[in-house]
């Protein structure tokens, strides 16, 4: 019986498991490719990516969505007078309004700019704070993540590379830094640094970095130790490749990828912690566009929150959706990375 070419094409791939390997897969290697593919095909993580993309777009187009009064200091929230009572949404902007955004007139057919999300005590415009707060959130989040990852990878690889006493000392330092609860430790350091550096973003950022790197160094160290035992490393050693070259060229590129992916998704968590410090009153000066600070305005109005709900709800939702976006991707990632969950029964 002759087999047609068509039948061959149908049967052959399954019988001898011929699979086309694309360029991307060749470039990333099978493990890393599986991670990326898993992230791009899970519905939850796609939803997460969409949320993140929306926030990135908001941050990029902030000057058009909510034009600042002064181009030089756009992070300062404009205020409409100084009255201590918050005003509800839709109140007309009376004193010194910022320029009208381009999209307002075609939609509303009106020339008066209003407080879209109301004002907080002291007449800070909540809408402006939420929009520009997106920028603050993104850049502080990315800055903190990048700095913690660099420190973590450095400590982790030095620890795994040298082993022995160095490893022991570094890992005990990690233990010490892990003893204090993250938020409390960051709170203290930020309080110590604020008199030196002023009420800017810096104290909180430095504090979060100082107490944030330990997890990555443990992760990188573990991955390096496991990659080190693979056969191709042994092969490299046998043909006489120098230790430093083995670490930098053969081990690190293969060990670092999971850490980078995990870390890139921690942006949400760091933004949350940054907002928490701001909320507690440590961080930027009053009137700086940052979600935590907008939320802290609500602390003075706890008994009247039913009237002034907008102080909590709008910045709160921005923060929750932002963190949710990163967590959705992160949760999908955990499933992809966890080998025990792979091929789970349906």
């Amino acid at each position: 019986m002759t087999v047609s070419q068509k039948q061959m094409d149908e049967v052959l791939p399954e019988t001898i498991a011929v699979r086309k390997i694309g360029r991307l897969e060749r470039f990333l290697g099978p493990d890393n490719y599986r991670i990326i593919k898993g992230l791009l095909t899970t519905p939850a993580s796609i939803a997460g990516f969409i949320l993140i993309a929306l926030f990135v777009l908001t941050a990029i187009f902030a000057p058009y969505i909510a034009p600042p009064i002064s181009k030089r200091d756009p992070y300062k929230i404009p205020r409409d007078g100084f009255s201590p009572d918050p005003k509800p949404l839709g109140t007309e902007w009376k004193r010194n309004p910022p320029p009208l955004p381009f999209w307002w007139k075609p939609i509303m057919k009106s020339d008066t700019w209003v407080h879209l999300m109301g004002t907080a005590a002291g007449q800070w415009d909540i809408f402006y704070g939420v929009i520009w707060g997106t920028r603050t959130a993104l850049w502080t989040g990315i800055l903190i993540t990048a700095a913690t990852v660099i420190i973590g990878v450095l400590v982790g690889s030095v620890s795994a590379y040298y082993g022995g006493l160095v490893d022991n000392i570094l890992m005990r330092i990690v233990d010490v830094f892990l003893t204090l609860p993250f938020i409390l430790a960051a709170l203290i350091l930020a309080a110590v640094l604020t008199p030196k550096l002023g009420r800017t973003v810096l104290p909180a950022v430095i504090a979060l970095v100082t107490f944030g790197w330990m997890g990555y160094s443990r992760l990188v160290r573990g991955d390096i130790l496991s990659v080190r035992e693979r056969d191709y490393i042994l092969a490299a050693r046998v043909i006489g490749v120098k230790d430093r070259r083995i670490l930098l060229k053969h081990i690190l590129p293969n060990a670092i990828f999971p850490t980078l992916v995990v870390a890139s998704l921690d942006v949400g968590g760091y933004v949350l912690s940054f907002a928490a410090l701001s909320f507690l009153g440590i961080g930027t000066e009053i009137g700086y566009a940052d979600w935590g600070q907008l939320l802290s305005f609500a602390r003075a109005w706890i008994t009247n929150l039913s009237t002034y709900w907008y102080i909590v709800v709008f910045p709160g939702m921005a923060l929750v959706l932002f963190v949710l976006g990163w967590n959705l991707v992160g949760d999908a990632l955990r499933d992809v990375l966890d080998p025990k969950m792979r091929g789970a029964r349906k």
């Binding site: 009153g281 440590i282 929150l305 949710l324």
Partner: protein, 353 residues
């Protein structure tokens, strides 16, 4: 087991040294005058006395001498004995207007009270959710639990706290923030009320004041709810994945093949083993609660050590904050030790590793 405990105990001095060094290091950011708040209530305001302050407390001595003096106390230049942290001197609190250690003594019972009441719902419900999610893997319960868990971990404590305050306090007036109502506070201060344990919920029962007990509990409902919701997310995830892993073990298949009832397979064969890793998590969460939950206490203006630390930090009262941190560090180190040893007792694999 002895070897494991000894190995774990050897780590103790290292951690104690490390944490005290960390705190001491942060103290060095302060000016000598500010650091004198470690020893006197009123720090000198006059600029000219800086020299004198430095000399008196030996802030010009080598750093290791200063560290030792800070730990163990010393006699200052005038011959006055200045106790160190080992004698319980954590400095004077500018914001609390009393020694830091007294502030801690006053606030810690409230934190303990909240922790004790929160532990039960967190662990019991968190475990139940996790086990159910694993048993109905990929079913509707699992999916719902998963959504619940992701939303829970995305909700910052303070946003969740403010939202429940908005609903249950500002709108419905059911659960107020704070510790107790004013009338109950007067009862607490009255002469015929005895403070046995300093924990309001226990003392009020011992004094036979059920009304005070219920009032205190009413003030704690929202913090407990917030802490529970935030912690369930982690608990659910860990229990679920541990349970899923155990259910895939061969001995579980064997039990099923023998015809053991599904209920017994889950409750008697799988669950005990699945709970081993969860025990550590539970331990660390309890320890975390003891450390004072800075944000939750602040949102609900609950007078525990967490909110005191936050208030001191936002007033830049560094000596007080560092005092709290030190206390926290010591409590956590000891509690972690207990958790680790217990874990070694439960799971033989740990102590052999």
């Amino acid at each position: 087991m002895t070897a494991y405990i000894i190995r774990r105990l050897l780590l103790l001095p290292v951690l104690l040294f490390g944490v005290t060094m960390l705190i001491f290091g942060m103290l060095q950011f302060l000016s000598p005058v500010e650091r004198s708040a470690l020893y006197v209530r009123d720090i000198p305001k006059n600029e000219n006395v800086i020299e004198g302050v430095i000399k008196r407390y030996g802030f010009d001595k080598p750093i290791y001498v200063q560290y030792w003096r800070w730990l163990a106390g010393f006699k200052d230049r005038d011959g006055t004995y200045r106790p160190g942290i080992l004698q319980g001197n954590f400095g004077y609190s500018r914001t609390g207007n009393q020694p830091v250690i007294d502030l801690i003594k006053q606030r810690f019972p409230n934190t303990l009270d909240l922790a004790l009441w929160s532990v039960v719902p967190i662990i019991a419900i968190g475990l139940w959710l996790g086990v159910q999610a694993a048993v109905h893997h990929n079913g509707w319960f699992d999916q719902a639990a998963r959504i619940f868990s992701i939303i829970g971990s995305s909700f910052p404590t303070f946003v969740f706290g403010l939202l429940v305050l908005m609903i249950f306090y500002a709108n419905l007036r059911w659960f107020p923030p704070g510790r107790v109502s004013d009338w109950a506070n007067q009862v607490l201060r009255s002469a015929d009320y005895h403070s046995y344990t300093s924990l309001v919920t226990i003392d009020s029962l011992l004094n036979g004041r059920l009304d005070v007990f219920l009032d205190a509990l009413r003030h704690m409902i929202l913090p407990i709810l917030t802490l529970s919701y935030i912690n369930w997310a982690t608990f659910l995830r860990v229990t679920r994945s541990s349970m899923l892993e155990t259910l895939r073990q061969e001995y579980v298949t064997t039990a099923r093949a023998k015809g053991v009832k599904e209920k017994d397979v889950i409750n008697k064969h799988a669950r005990p083993n699945a709970l081993i890793p969860v025990t550590t998590l539970a331990g660390f969460q309890v320890v975390g609660l003891l450390g004072g939950v800075v944000i939750t206490e602040t949102v609900f203006t609950y007078p525990g050590i967490g909110s005191a630390a936050a208030a001191a930090a936002s007033a830049l009262d560094v000596v007080t904050v560092l005092g709290f941190a030190l206390f926290n560090g010591l409590v956590l180190i000891l509690a972690n030790l207990v958790v680790d040893v217990l874990y070694g007792l439960i799971d033989p694999r740990v102590r052999l590793a």
